[in-house]
């Protein structure tokens, strides 16, 4: 492929130029790496800086106060934390089993002809912009849930505390389902890779001992990849907690804590998206930035933890 002449044939000046180029390339590439570090530091500093007023005014009390009152200019995040955790938890509750099943289907069960198209479709689900999913959520999914699903759920599951209430086209439920659509592809593609990485001799050994395919998965493959699945769930959680646009479109932006899963509510990311551009007071803006700080901390924790777990697994597989 390369037809380069040895450098000795190149005039000295050119050789010197390339040696200089060596230093230059390393310098520029190194500068990019330093730039990345600076970007991360700047990101934290600027976002915390925006939140400074709220941080010193409310301190950690912000986390367990539920008032969000622009007239009295006092703010707390408790209801938003509640909304964030409920939507993320319900989304994960639905998405994780589905996604693991999809991962299993794609790695163990699917005939070769189906593997690529179905795998591609699951990955394309992750590529749909969140604003488009939100548009679908507010104009199609929300009204559908309101008319058909929620009355049915209230009639048949109303005895469960949080599942009783009144139908609404916007609220927690559509937000949970939209987040489910976003989390499934993330967890599914990771679990597919995990199941594929389980050594074939282990799987075949289990099958040769007379285990059914499901018993092989449960008894041999699952224990091998359980750590990785935890990491996948953490990444999914980070995604669900941080999604702002689609959630703000479908959740209804309520200022009070919802009394049922059908009622309008709000999450931290959604409140941030809805209010940050047009705030009444500087303390409100700063309080919204406080929400951004909380989101940043959650994303840093979940991502670093997931990375550490993945590295440990890679090292284990590498040593084998």
């Amino acid at each position: 492929m390369t037809t380069e002449t040895p450098t000795s044939h190149i005039p000295l000046s050119a050789r010197r130029r390339w040696r200089l180029g060596d230093v230059l390339l390393q310098g520029i590439a190194g500068a990019a790496a330093l730039g990345l570090a600076a970007l991360m530091v700047l990101l934290v500093v600027e976002v915390v800086g925006q939140a400074h007023a709220a941080l010193s005014e409310f301190g950690l009390g912000f986390l367990h106060t539920s008032v969000w009152n622009t007239v009295k200019d006092t703010y707390g995040a408790l209801d938003l934390i509640f909304g964030t955790l409920v939507t993320a938890a319900v989304a994960l509750l639905i998405a994780v089993p589905l996604a693991i099943a999809i991962g299993l289907f794609l790695s163990e069960l699917a005939p070769r002809a189906l593997r690529t198209p179905v795998g591609t479709m699951v990955e394309l689900l992750a590529a749909i912009p969140s604003v488009v999913l939100g548009l679908w959520g507010i104009l199609v999914l929300g009204p559908f849930l309101n008319e058909h699903v929620e009355p049915f759920m209230i009639a048949h599951l109303g005895f469960v505390p949080f599942l009783d209430g009144f139908p609404s086209p916007v609220g927690l439920l559509p937000a949970c389902l939209i987040l489910t659509l976003m989390v499934v592809p993330i967890v599914a593609s990771i679990s597919r890779e995990l199941f594929t990485s389980v050594p074939g001799e282990l799987k075949q050994g289990a099958l040769a001992l007379g285990a059914t395919r499901w018993e092989m998965v449960r008894g041999v493959a699952m224990p091998q990849v359980s750590g990785g699945l935890v990491a996948a769930v953490m990444l999914g959680f980070g995604r669900a907690v941080g999604e702002a646009i689609a959630v703000t479109q479908v959740i209804g932006g309520s200022l009070t804590r919802p009394d049922s899963i059908y009622a309008p509510a709000d999450t931290m990311a959604s409140r941030l998206a809805a209010q940050y551009a047009g705030t009444a007071t500087s303390l409100q803006k700063s309080s919204l930035a406080y929400l951004a700080v909380i989101l940043l901390v959650i994303s840093l924790l979940t991502n670093v933890a997931a990375q550490v777990i993945v590295r440990r697994i890679q090292r284990r597989l590498g040593h084998r």
Partner: protein, 296 residues
């Protein structure tokens, strides 16, 4: 194993039950995969169906009708998205490739690990937080601009470009690198004349995927390039610009059916861009892999 009751009978029953459990689980897993595929199909078909009435030449060549009347289009938003995403690519592509080169060619293993970790963490930062960051960094005191939006998108793109470029640079067989060195070429010369040309396909792929992703992002634009006067096409990046995601976002909350129709049409444009980009990226990356493997 169990010696309870008649071993032959219980064994037969157990075998049947085990087989049945296995079959049920396999059916469930297949159903889950079909459900996800169906969800994608439903969203795309709905978008296409609802967009159809609003899709015409005017939609691409006109700006919004004054006072939200019927007719009109989103030319200003299409131009805006092209410019904002273009500038973001011009920032993220060189930065990402340089990071990848640093990681594969120069950085000691531990530093390279740390950089990969940082990139993964950056990729996990919620895009709305990136919006707040750019707002604080650029917009405060200077006002909104398309350039601020581009900066936000470039942060979304950077980890995508850098990670995928690094992956493809690592695929370049070491004998090519060593061959370059053995001929007496310096590292820089080997990188520029041997390694990058071999990996260019993968870098292009990564860029396409990152552009498709960035074009659909709303959150980094929300506080940085969302407030502008008039509906005319604007090509000055120091001013705020309209963009396709922002059109969808603001029209989606409008009760006006005409505006909703425009939102669906804009969504179809965006989905088409993103899907074509992602699929093209997938196909290209398969091809690049095959080519590099041939060199091997």
């Amino acid at each position: 194993m169990s010696a309870v009751g008649n071993p032959l009978v219980s064994r037969g029953r157990r075998a049947r039950r085990r087989k049945l459990t296995g079959q049920i689980m396999e059916v469930l897993a297949t159903a889950a995969a079909l459900l996800a595929a169906a969800a994608l199909a439903i969203v795309i078909i709905t978008v296409a169906k609802r967009a159809a009435p609003a899709l015409n030449v005017d939609f691409f060549t006109q700006n919004a009708a004054p006072f939200g009347g019927a007719g009109g289009g989103i030319e200003n938003a299409i131009v805006g998205t092209l410019i904002i995403t273009g500038i973001a690519t011009a920032i993220a592509l060189p930065a990402g490739v340089l990071l990848a080169i640093f990681n594969t060619e120069f950085a000691p293993r531990r530093l390279a690990d740390l950089i990969s970790l940082t990139l993964n963490v950056l990729a996990g930062v919620p895009t709305i937080v990136i919006g707040v960051f750019i707002f604080a960094l650029v917009v405060v005191g200077r006002g909104q601009s398309a350039f601020a939006g581009s900066l936000g998108l470039s942060i979304v793109m950077l980890p995508l470009v850098a990670r995928a470029s690094e992956e493809v640079l690592r695929l370049v067989p070491s004998h090519l690198r060593e061959g370059g060195m053995a001929l007496g070429a310096t590292r820089a010369r080997t990188v520029i004349t041997v390694i990058l040309p071999t990996a260019i396909g993968g870098i292009v792929t990564a860029t396409i995927v990152a552009v498709a992703r960035a074009a659909g992002e709303t959150a980094p634009l929300l506080f940085t390039t969302s407030i502008f006067v008039g509906t005319a096409v604007n090509t000055d990046p120091s001013q705020a610009m309209a963009s396709i995601p922002m059109v969808i976002f603001s029209y989606s909350e409008s009760p006006d059916p005409h505006a909703q129709q425009q939102a669906w049409a804009a969504a179809l444009v965006l989905v088409a861009v993103v899907l074509v980009g992602s699929i093209a990226g997938r196909l290209l990356s398969l091809r690049t892999r095959r080519q590099i493997e041939q060199v091997r």
